[in-house]
Symmetry: C2
Subunit: 314 residues, 2 copies
């Protein structure tokens, strides 16, 4: 396969956090607006979200049609691109329409293109990174990435219904090798057959991870571990312009914050979840990475401080 | 009208909190169980919930068929019943069925019976109570109760879709006279026409109340005021056996706690909301008042302490 890294043979950077996921070109319609061929994909949102906190390296694949302007945008986020392959063909494309109230969406088309044959290969410099985020790709690919890492300190895995339904055994295997599993409410129920979230979380912890982080969208998130549960509502927003990538931005902010702290205890998890929630709250205020592109770490911390006050118990 | 108070001519008690609402006899079917002719109604759940914190007086109406065992149960909660009228006829009866997962229910029958002609009359001793909870009854009746009070310190009003749709003007008038309006998420949207909760809350605050408390069921609650918002998730439960009365138990625990503290500032609201959430979490663990009947104030505080840890930000 003719693979070339976007940044090969330059001075290799060892990122503190490696993120693997999809890079997509999206066409999105909401009840209020429509945007064509904008930058999307789980790796885009996760890496951008993490970039406020740490040096992140992206592992993914794009086609030869991938616009230079998007690569430039990644660079402005200071995302290392040595792990981003460019292969002959078209980039993964997705289009969808959000229904009224933005709480449901219909997929219009999914063209995997070069993503169909994605085989993630990690640059040498990436293999000794301490933190790894296995974004939402097939569990066999997630396992392949994990096998290339030398000695990770903390691995987080995201998944989705597609893999729960079509690759359940592979998924269970890779879940058994990670430190934290993140998935949304309905996926947790689907994977365990338990409607009650505490019961679902207990079953997921039995698969091996120390932590299970359940995302509930506008209703926040819950972190389960043997020490109990941490519950954080979502940061309340007046306006959501595009929910696409919210979960990925959340995971990116979470992983970035965790990497920055260099700790993986319960207290660090709570702070990182708050950071992830706030990064996600910014992400959904605009299409693609447009909002994240225009905020600073200070904006994040200011919102974190307001959020702290909103959930403070006297 | 032949009205007699259940406790007339005895030593009148001046309750610290007066609660007006419905008393009903319910028949409820869940996916797992069915119970006939059990004690229900907003006043039952609210008064029981408040009783852990303060001396509460119930204002409501029952028929001559109302079982003595239920009056005895009220007395075991130390609820003052001088404001509970008994009139010739049948008590309000409601029956409903919960669907799978308990998140929706269908009403099978509603027989208002003596509740149809309910005209709440407050015992003299109740009129100078500092705290008043106007539970979910018609806004004209809520206004009639408010008019009988001498000098309340803090009035909370609950409502529902029925009144929003059929008595909107009366409802807006009485909302203009209370300190805190509580309603659920969909009702807040319905009453204001705003989908965004912050926008809906802003419009509701413009009607007059200092606080708007939005109940989101299993997703917790939000308190809006000119000082901002306080957000508390729901206490997570493994098992919910009957969600009936959850909102009323929440309101009762909230009002009871507020009354006990004797304060109406933002900090007191936050503590009272936590108490309300915990009381509601107990209430839904069994049918009717069965769970509340078997817990103590210590059980509530123990759960509050576990809850505090679940939402603590380092």
């Amino acid at each position: 396969m003719a693979v070339e890294s976007s940044e090969s043979n330059k001075n290799s950077i060892k990122p503190d956090l490696v993120v693997v996921g999809s890079v997509a070109i999206d066409t999105i319609e909401t009840p209020y607006d429509k945007r064509e061929s904008i930058l999307g994909g789980s790796a885009s949102f996760s890496c951008a979200g993490a970039s406020f906190f740490t040096q992140v390296g992206m592992v993914g694949v794009v086609g030869s049609d991938f616009p230079e302007s998007y690569t430039d945008l990644y660079r402005r986020f200071n995302i290392d691109l040595e792990g981003l392959q460019t292969v002959e063909g078209e980039t993964f494309r997705w289009s969808g329409v959000y229904r009224k109230n933005m709480d449901e969406r219909d997929t219009l088309s999914t063209d995997l293109n070069v993503f169909a044959d994605f085989s993630p290969e990690l640059p040498t410099a990436y293999r000794s990174s301490p933190y790894l985020f296995l974004g939402n790709i097939g569990p066999d690919l997630q396992m392949h990435v994990l096998d290339q890492m030398d000695d990770t300190r903390f691995v987080v895995l995201d998944t989705m219904d597609l893999w729960i339904e079509n690759a359940r055994e592979d998924l269970r295997k890779v879940i058994g090798r990670v430190d934290l599993l993140t998935l949304n409410e309905s996926e947790a129920r689907n994977l365990t057959g338990e409607h009650s979230l505490p019961a679902a979380a207990a079953k997921l912890l039995e698969l091996g991870p120390r932590y299970v982080l359940i995302k509930k969208g506008e209703h926040g998130s819950m972190l389960y571990s043997e020490n109990g549960v941490f519950i954080l509502p979502a940061y309340p927003l007046e306006v959501v312009n595009d929910p696409t990538g919210a979960g990925d931005a959340f995971a990116g902010g979470f992983m970035g914050s965790l990497t920055e702290m260099g700790r993986t205890d319960d207290e660090a998890m709570r702070i990182a979840i708050m950071h992830g929630s706030v990064v996600a709250s910014f992400a959904v205020e605009a299409f693609s990475l447009e909002r994240l592109e225009n905020i600073s770490r200070d904006d994040i911390e200011n919102r974190v401080n307001r959020f702290r006050e909103m959930v403070r118990i006297p």
